[in-house]
């Protein structure tokens, strides 16, 4: 990678820092505050009562064993169900995506160290001192506040420190549930193989954790030495830091922004950047929800948690509408547009002009030697081959109908992150992969895309979707309408490849600018 490219990537990363850091701080500070607010009273209860202690410590311990990413992911369906319930019972919806699920998961995550140290700190107070507190005539409350709490404070603070470091680290995992955080660098960097972003995200999150840990350490030292000075300094610096980090957040809150969504691959990042730029040029403020799971993205749009994103007609056709037939491209688009408006209130603004179809691809050398050109040919050879799919593809109905229509049976089946899937072909880890037809790497790696003579998979036009609550938003629609039919597949492939390739790669935002220029929409 050229030094110049790395420098421009670092500059692009710095430009995103105020927003990412601010949201990261808001999220982790809220989760930690909530965690402390729940865990401290619970510690008192648990220290007094063994019947509470065992279940509380065990439960928080079990929560800690759930991988952070899974814990965050679990809160989305939970809140979605709750949201459906409140919508029916009380007439309002709670937010299932973004801040709330991330907050709840991280709060749970922060509880164990605070609770464990809280209980240990309170039980560690010398029984003679506790009896003296009774003997001089303290009420149970006075005993707690004047004797037990100050004596347990250093141990409790150590627990809060641990919780803070964990929470700040785990907050990077909130990106896939739609909450912007420093994890945006890591997730988008991983998808686009932008290691500068990944490192930048790790460094920013680790740096934040270190600083917070040191400041809380000052408070801990103050508590241990019974000297209020370091504690006050630590607390002040902490408050100033949180305030400074939140400033961009508060300034922006004045204008309600368009929320632009993106799923978790390069093309989605580029198109979201393209859409965001157009909205900003039209005078709108924009916030982003990047790296969403495919199913999460549509549900979030439907619920109005994101306002606009790009999806693919065939994906919606099979996964949202639940259809198994595969009508011709134009007819599918017409039925989809009609159904979306009627059933979901979602506006299908139109196709961007290219397809990003699910297709199986092989290296040319292997395809030629096996004589494979179509999925029918592949079926005769598949039992000796290994297929590599991205995680999502292998669980999608398109894959099931493809297997059924052609009778495909592979020797082995492996899942990859999309980026690594293309590499797997070169390294021999997979013989066939689930490629995307707009992917620049198909041409770059000279892959053969296998034909689908039986029409087992539908067409996949890239379409702009607009949420029900923005259906009448003229500024939004006018800003995005010029994109309809404007992007040929060659230009999309070029833009995708610019982000995905190893040498001279650019950020999605730069690729979006290049794409806009190429299709004369800049």
């Amino acid at each position: 990678m050229a030094a110049g490219a790395a420098q421009s990537q670092i500059a692009a990363a710095w430009a995103l820092l105020p927003d990412y850091l601010s949201q990261h701080v808001l999220l982790s500070a809220s989760a930690l505050a909530l965690g402390v607010a729940i865990s401290l009273p619970l510690s008192v209860l648990a220290a007094r009562n063994p019947m509470v202690r065992w279940p509380a410590l065990t439960l928080t311990g079990v929560i800690q064993t759930i991988p952070g990413l899974a814990l965050l992911a679990l809160f989305y369906p939970l809140l979605l169900a709750l949201s459906a319930f409140t919508a029916g019972a009380m007439g309002f919806r709670i937010q299932a995506l973004g801040f709330l699920p991330a907050l709840l998961a991280l709060t749970l995550y922060s509880m164990l160290p605070i609770l464990r140290n809280g209980v240990a700190g309170l039980l560690g107070v010398d029984p003679a001192v506790r009896e003296a507190a009774d003997g001089v005539g303290m009420t149970p409350r006075q005993k707690l506040l004047r004797v037990e709490a100050p004596l347990a404070a250093p141990v409790v603070m150590a627990g809060i420190r641990t919780a803070a470091v964990w929470t700040i680290g785990a907050a990077t995992l909130s990106t896939p549930v739609g909450q912007t955080s420093l994890g945006n660098y890591i997730f988008s960097g991983l998808q686009t193989e932008n290691w500068v972003y990944v490192l930048f995200g790790c460094a920013a999150s680790a740096g934040l954790a270190l600083i917070v840990d040191q400041l809380l350490g000052l408070i801990e030292r103050g508590a241990a030495r019974r000297d209020p000075r370091p504690a006050v300094i630590g607390l002040l610096l902490l408050l100033v830091g949180v305030g400074a980090a939140l400033a961009p957040q508060l300034l922006r809150a004045a204008t309600p922004a368009y929320v632009v969504g993106a799923k978790n691959f390069s093309e989605q990042y580029i198109l979201a950047d393209l859409i965001s730029t157009r909205l900003q040029n039209a005078g709108g403020a924009v916030t982003r929800r990047d790296g969403l799971g495919s199913a999460i993205a549509f549900r979030a749009l439907e619920a109005g948690e994101i306002d606009v994103y790009v999806d693919y007609s065939g994906t919606l056709w099979t996964n949202v509408m639940g259809r198994k037939d595969t009508p011709p491209r134009a007819e599918l688009m017409a039925q989809l547009t009609d159904w979306m408006a009627r059933e979901k209130g979602v506006t299908v603004l139109g196709s961007l002009g290219f397809e990003n179809a699910y297709a199986l691809a092989m290296e040319r050398k292997l395809a030629t030697s096996l004589g494979v050109e179509t999925l029918s040919d592949l079926a005769t050879q598949s039992s000796a081959l290994t297929i590599g799919g991205d995680l999502e593809f292998l669980s999608r109905p398109e894959w099931a109908s493809m297997k059924k229509a052609y009778g495909l049976r592979f020797r082995r089946q492996k899942s990859f992150n999309p980026t690594f899937m293309y590499r797997a072909l070169g390294s021999g880890d997979a013989d066939v992969i689930s490629a995307f037809s707009s992917d620049g790497r198909i041409a770059a790696q000279d892959l053969v895309v296998l034909g689908d003579p039986k029409g087992a998979v539908p067409s996949y036009d890239a379409v702009i979707l607009i949420s029900p609550k923005r259906a009448g938003d003229k500024r939004l629609i006018e800003a995005l309408r010029p994109l309809v039919g404007a992007i040929p597949v060659e230009e999309m492939r070029k833009a995708n490849y610019a982000v995905d390739r190893d040498d001279g790669k650019v950020s999605p935002a730069e690729a979006a600018a290049g794409l806009a220029k190429a299709v004369k929409l800049d």
Binding site: V129, A133, G135, V136, G137, M138, P150
Partner: protein, 257 residues
Amino acid sequence: MPDAPAIAFQDVSRRYAGKAAVDAVSLSIPAGQFVAVVGASGSGKTTLLKTVNRLTEPDDGQVLVEGRDVAGEDPVGLRRRIGYVFQGVGLFPHMSVAENIAITPRLLGWSTEDIDARVDALLSLVSLPLDYRRRLPDQLSGGERQRVGVARALAARPGILLMDEPFGALDPVTREALGLATRSLHEKLGLTTLMVTHDVQEAVILADRIIVMAQGRVLADDAPRALLAGHPDPVVAALMDTPARQARAISALMEAG
């Protein structure tokens, strides 16, 4: 009816896991008396002491303080009216000497000036320099700590002082000095003092009256001089003979030297 006794135990029993720690004890302690309760470890003397300010509740019987059944009183208010010196001293390690002494007056809502004046008065009463006010307990010697413990117990001007092995952890010289100082405070302030100790010699020197306990029961209850003269119970007789036996051993040693 004449003045009610300062403390009265009426058939007081307390059991732990079915075993009697205090077994049907009845005693009456008139105001102004200095009473020592002696006995081996596990004789029930500390448990008995704790029933007075309800740090322990009796299973049976009644404890009366100044004529009123303590079971009917708010334990917090009761404890603020009764001074208590703890076996392990039990100073609050995060509070200064002055804050430790002032704790009960502060809980009672005294004014800052009254509290300051009282802390000064108590420091001189227990013979500690005034510049000790800001020291923390771990900056004091064992004897100094227990002086602060006594000062804390006396801070809210109680009429009754309970002491649980107060000088047990001190060296003999400090122990004797502090014992005598406590006795003179008892006189000066007109206290009723109930002291638990396993040191018969200390009890003999300080107390007006000695109660000997074993296995939760009172074996003997009399003036030191009377008990020293002999007792029909062999356990009491052996226990009370200890100081004299030691004195004889010491004089024998000195004569031989």
